[in-house]
């Protein structure tokens, strides 16, 4: 053995110094390639498939029932990553490792602004023609007149209650948002745990405090935003639980912890099928509380760094083909985007039940959008999504 280093302390400092230098170097490398190039060009012709396709989707959108036949037909092997929230979808798309995503309206603008997705040439998606016209060229899928995606399906957030405990059946969101009425269900109210829930308060205020002048619940100026946030802060003591996982809300309603709340079709039908005494706004009320409701309309978008653009185009056409779109809609419990899907559903009444072809119904549904500083009317004093996230943190306390 050689003699050991005479100055262990000095060696230690050298190592620490070396580590710091490496770290700074790494940090520097990490920051130099940040501005990803955005080609912004749409495909002109769908060529031969690249053999595989990697997607980000909501649970239930990419299932073997319709991916298997797709793989056989196109040779594009599908791998799917399920995301739980819109924020997660944006984050995954920014990694640049995916070809496409089923984005909700509160993700699409962020993806477009960030240059993460490319415009979609709808002429290359033959099934686009027969998609319900009130889903086309909407602010959440079309930017500056350019189409950025193919509509997939849509739904409204529901008001759900335990029919044994909540009587009479509520016809308004006031049952959970008007402090006087909400107090009756103190600790039994179930609210959605996401900054976008502020829009639910805005929908309520739009109807109940018209002097605020709220038009779009996602474009709120200082005063309107404060009013919505204050309303939620008043609601806070009455909330039994904020949910963001469907399973969590199902267990809260099944276990009797919550009696009234905002929900998705999925949870409602799960509870109903399990024999739980839940109810949601019935047909006689137009399926919505009187103020209307927030909802979602999802769009398949193609990544600006897609490695398999041809496969992605084939997928976008496949998922809105009548039969497949019917399958997805029935599987998930939402209204299909494809008008011809209504002839293909197993339940012939499906499209009627879900109002797929009822534009009047959807006028009262405010699809999730990304809150931006740009109010859409020239002024830019609206609260952006960062403000929404911070406000949501302070609502929950």
């Amino acid at each position: 053995m050689r003699t050991r280093d005479a100055h262990p302390a000095r060696t230690a400092w050298l190592i620490v110094g070396g580590l710091l230098a490496t770290m700074l170097l790494l940090a520097g490398c990490g920051s130099s390639d940040s501005s990803s190039s955005t080609s912004g060009e749409e495909l002109q012709k769908v060529g031969k498939g690249e053999g595989s396709l990697s997607l980000i989707s909501w649970a239930g959108y990419v299932e073997p029932e319709w991916t298997k036949p797709f793989e056989e037909k196109t040779g594009c092997k599908v791998s799917d990553k399920i995301a739980g929230t819109s924020d997660e979808m944006v984050e995954l798309m920014r990694s640049g490792q995916y070809d496409g995503v089923s984005a909700s309206g509160n993700a699409t603008a962020r993806l477009v602004e960030g240059g993460d997705v490319d415009p979609v040439n709808v002429d290359l998606v033959p099934n686009y023609k027969t998609i319900f016209s009130d889903l086309k060229d909407q602010p959440y899928n079309t930017f500056d007149g350019v189409n950025y995606g193919i509509p997939h399906g849509r739904g409204a957030n529901l008001l759900m209650w335990n029919s044994n405990d909540v009587k009479p059946a509520p016809i308004s969101w006031d049952v959970m948002l008007d402090p006087k009425k909400a107090a009756k269900y103190k600790g039994k109210i179930s609210a959605y745990d996401d900054p976008i829930y502020i829009a639910d308060a805005a929908v309520y205020l739009k109807a109940h405090q018209p002097e605020l002048g709220i038009e779009n619940p996602y474009e709120l100026n200082e005063e309107q935003f404060e009013a919505a946030v204050d309303l939620l802060k008043e609601q806070r003591p009455f909330v039994g639980e904020y949910w963001s996982e469907a399973a969590k809300q199902i267990s809260a309603f099944a276990g009797g912890d919550d009696q009234v709340g905002t929900t998705w079709q999925y949870q409602y039908f799960e509870l109903k099928n399990a024999g739980k005494p839940v109810a949601a706004s019935p047909a006689s009320q137009g399926f919505l509380p009187k103020e209307g409701a927030t909802g979602w309309s999802d769009t398949w978008m193609i990544s600006s760094e897609a490695k398999h653009p041809n496969c992605m185009y084939m997928w976008m056409d496949w998922i809105v083909s009548p039969k497949v779109n019917a399958e997805v809609a029935e599987f998930f419990g939402e209204a299909p985007a494809q008008s011809l899907a209504c002839e293909q559903t197993a339940d012939k009444e499906f499209c009627t039940k879900y109002h797929a072809d009822n534009p009047g119904f959807w006028k009262r549904v405010y699809y999730w959008e990304t809150p931006l500083a740009d109010c859409g009317n020239g002024s830019s004093d609206c609260k952006d999504y960062n403000d929404w996230v911070q406000a949501w943190t302070s609502v929950k306390g």
Partner: protein
């Protein structure tokens, strides 16, 4: 080729050591310290509100928000308080169990107890939290059991977080204390008895001082794990903890999430320095 390589390393102990350690040290530096450094640097960046793109540069905006918004102070206080409570609870529960395992149980009983302590770690964390969620719910088993006495369970909230975390991290406290107690020679205990000390005095003057570093070592686990967890608070309470707020900010405002992530790091550094003073690392 092999010979040439062997020749290269022959008689060069430094090269040998470097070759041997390059992999693990590289992993540590790049995987752990490197990402920490990026985190630290990112905390001074900001986000362009429109595109969500990172704006690089030195800005204290995130830290200003962190200090000026009372809600974040409340969240930090709540998180540290629960972490401390969980640590104390686990230490109190774990010590007798570990003592029985180390000094009282037979060889066979010891083996069974070690397996029993480790067994909960084999099942999924999520399953355990959801099980607690079911037990704590309004119609759950806890309320059912307390009902005849006219009492009701804690329901969902910070108390539930404290309960569930204490349950989850208990094995991480038992095992270090058990290892620490094992290391105390029985002869010391006998000697203390021979010298006329009562069992309580033996415990207080001999066992506790020797086992204390092990308790502190275990507390590092329970404290750090509680400080960083965000799934349990999400499932059994409406209260936000540091981890929840980081999670909520990570995709749209990474710099702010980074700034927040530094809070538990600072708390942990302070904690580790105290632990070092208390001798937690002497036997490692």
């Amino acid at each position: 080729m092999g010979h040439r390589l062997a020749g290269l390393f022959h008689g060069r102990p430094r090269l040998q050591i470097s070759g041997l350690l390059a992999g693990p040290v590289g992993w540590l530096v790049i995987g752990y310290l490197g990402s920490l450094a990026v985190l630290l640097i990112a905390a001074f960046w900001t986000v362009d509100p429109l595109s969500g793109e990172l704006v690089q540069g030195l800005s204290f905006e995130n830290f200003e928000t962190l200090f000026n918004e009372p809600v974040y102070r409340d969240i930090v206080k709540r998180t540290v308080l629960i972490a401390a409570l969980v640590t104390v609870t686990d230490a109190v529960l774990a010590f007798p169990i570990a003592f029985y395992m180390a000094k009282v149980a037979s060889r066979r009983g010891k083996a069974i107890l070690v397996v029993a302590v480790l067994l909960p770690l084999w099942s999924s964390y999520l399953v355990k939290v959801y099980a607690w969620r079911t037990m704590l719910s309004a119609g759950g088993v806890i309320n059912w059991a307390l009902e005849p006495f006219g009492l009701s369970g804690p329901g969902f909230g910070s108390t539930a977080v404290w309960l569930v975390m204490s349950y989850l991290w208990l094995p991480y406290m038992i095992l270090p204390i058990y290892a620490g107690l094992e290391r105390i020679p029985n002869s010391l205990i006998s000697a203390s008895e021979d010298l006329g000390a009562s069992p309580f005095t033996t415990f207080r003057r001999v066992i506790l001082p020797l086992a204390f570093p092990a308790v502190v070592a275990g507390s590092i686990f329970t404290f750090a794990l509680t400080l960083g967890d965000y799934i349990t608070p999400r499932l059994v309470s409406n209260d936000q903890f540091i981890g929840n707020v980081i999670f909520n900010n990570i995709s749209n405002n990474l710099p702010f999430a980074s700034a927040l992530a530094l809070v538990p790091i600072v708390v942990m550094i302070a904690y580790l320095m105290v632990a070092r003073k208390l001798g937690a690392f002497e036997h490692i």
